[in-house]
Amino acid sequence: MSILNVTDISKSYGGIRALAGCTMAFEEGAINGLIGPNGSGKTTLFNVISGYERADAGRVTFRGTDVTNARPETVFEMGLGRTFQITRIFPRLTVMENMHVASQRQGILGQVRGWNSPAERERATEVLDFVGLTRLAYEPAGGLSYGQQKLLEFAFIVVAKPLVILLDEPAGGVNPTLLRGLADRIRALNSEGVTFVIVEHDMSFVMGLCDRVLVMHQGCTLTAGAPEEVRSNPDVLEAYLGAAPKGTR
């Protein structure tokens, strides 16, 4: 059963068609890999799904409700969080404050109360412990290295406990040891029922982690299936060779 569906989504910038009637379904509880050569429209798809860009045509449904062109905040509140290819954190807030931006509160009282309730702080620290940023909890996030910022972005999404997490090249600029940990964490969360959609160029990372891989090419779905099927699919190779592949950026 799929939790996130994309139907005939098209999006073009002037002449360039980033998405050409792209249709795909992401299975609930799965770790979905989304791969494809540069410019195949992966990130655009993320932007459309998460409400950062309007689709020219098509529908996006999340948990059965239509979220086409919904505002980013609405999409997030429905339980879909995302990270960005080029990390976006809040440079002038401390790491700890960053961790709390996303944590949801109910009602006016929740808004008026202090931003870090003990419970929230505990959970945040626990996540920070994992990504190894606890030490820097009270430093301004702008001072972190790029890799650390990437982890922080992952961390403050996780802290908000979304149902689906879209990761845009999580491996980029993260050192191998942390990367392995990251994979474990993703699996752990996944076992708690969190669905993942991961755009990644690091093939070993994707193939090792994902239960299902979807391949995009020129704004449409090329193929989808288990990693090994995809790997053995000639079209995929064709697509990658056709458009000179770049590795991780």
């Binding site: 990130t43 950062y52 960005f84 976006r88 002038r92 931003w115 290295s145």
Partner: protein, 381 residues
């Protein structure tokens, strides 16, 4: 521009060095300033001095209010004189039509001035906040001028260029200013407290996240428009109160002095000098600049060099104290701490820089553009 090229703190600061003064210093300082302000008119009884005090308080209220929105959200408004004027006209008109006797009764109108400003702030803010930071700056000015022109033109209400009178209290000159001063001080305390609450609240964190990267914040469930609008209305409320205090003190209301472009700049400038987006910033700025400016006029006003000196001084402050006074103090304090630790631990590691350019609050927003931009660019494949 992105945070990448900032030296990783992981290397830079092996142990955490706080980005704020120690608690005792903060609370002690606050208590000290407050006591000083309470005692001020009792020590300096001279009306000329206390009247400077009154204006300082008026600007302090306005500055704190302004900072709650523009400081925390990063949306710089140079049009808050709109509410300064609205506050003035509210008090003057109500006092006139309801025949409110001059004196303590007029102070009862202050909350009303605030509320009227806040209420009018809702539609205005809604309109202004459709645009992003740069356009916003200029649009605020435009709206302010619209209101000024309306004040000129709606003569049946405002008596146009003739302005409105407010009969002033019959208090003795020797203690005339004190009531205004203490009411102003009370207002300032309230404004600062609200500012403090906002800074510490979940809501305030939303404002700050908008300042740093609005789109990212929206992607984390921050309702940007709503959040900004609330902040805008709160600030309008306090600026309105400032205006409501100014009118009865001056005794007359004019379009060009109510909706006064100079007020806009003055408030923005003093908050910047103090440290925008910080709690202490507006207080430091107001307590320093307003008396300084009035003193300047009293002393050197006759010299034509006044404007030049003022401009040069301003440039120097902008250049020498990036982020304003409050952050600079903190930077100094951290530098001191670092050196002390280094001294304690013998020679510290080479990369041990005192403080990154950014501080949790009030630091420069330069980077805020960076990731934001980047995020935008990647949208095209």
């Amino acid at each position: 521009m992105t945070a990448t090229d900032v030296t990783p703190v992981g290397v830079a600061a092996p142990e955490h060095i706080p980005y704020e003064l120690p608690k005792p210093a903060r609370w002690g300082g606050t208590a000290l300033v407050l006591t000083a302000l309470v005692l001020f008119p009792l020590v300096f009884t001279n009306p000329a001095v206390t009247s400077i005090g009154v204006f300082t308080m008026i600007y302090l209220v306005a500055a704190c209010g302004w900072n709650i929105f523009s400081g925390y959200s990063g949306y710089i408004s140079i049009g808050h004189a709109a509410y300064y004027g609205i506050g003035q006209y509210t008090v003057a008109l109500v006092a006139m039509h309801l025949r409110v006797p001059a004196g303590w009764d007029t102070f009862a109108l202050l909350p009303l001035a605030g509320v009227v400003s806040a209420v009018l702030g809702v539609p205005i803010g809604f309109l202004l906040l459709r645009v992003r930071k740069h356009t916003f700056i200029v649009l605020t000015i435009a709206v302010m001028f619209i209101l000024q022109l309306l004040a000129f033109n709606l003569t049946s209400w405002t008596n146009g260029s003739g302005g409105l009178e407010m009969s002033s209290p019959t208090w003795q000159g020797s203690y005339f200013n004190e009531p205004f001063y203490y009411v102003g001080l009370a207002g300032a305390v309230v404004a600062c407290t609200v500012s403090w609450f906002v800074r510490r609240s979940k809501y305030g964190l939303g404002l700050l996240s908008i300042r740093d990267d609005e789109d990212r914040a929206r992607g984390l469930g921050i309702h940007a428009t709503r959040t900004k609008l609330i902040g805008y209305v709160i600030s309008a409320f306090f600026v309105g109160i400032a205006g409501g205090l100014y009118a009865p003190f001056i005794g007359s209301v004019y379009p060009q002095f109510g909706f006064d472009p100079n007020f806009d700049l003055a408030v923005a400038v003093l908050v910047f000098v103090g440290g925008i987006g910080t709690l202490a910033g507006p207080v430091i700025g107001a307590l320093l600049l307003i008396p300084l400016q009035q003193y300047f006029y009293l002393q050197f006003g006759n010299a034509n060099l006044f404007l030049i000196a003022y401009g040069v001084l301003f440039v120097l402050i902008l250049r020498l104290l990036p982020g304003g006074i409050a952050p600079s103090i903190i930077r100094l304090w951290r530098w001191f701490l670092v050196n002390r630790r280094r001294a304690a631990a013998g020679a510290g590691p080479p990369g041990d820089v005192p403080a990154p350019a950014t501080t949790p609050d009030g630091g420069p927003a330069g980077e805020a553009e960076g990731p934001g931009r980047a995020g935008r660019k990647e949208t095209g494949p």
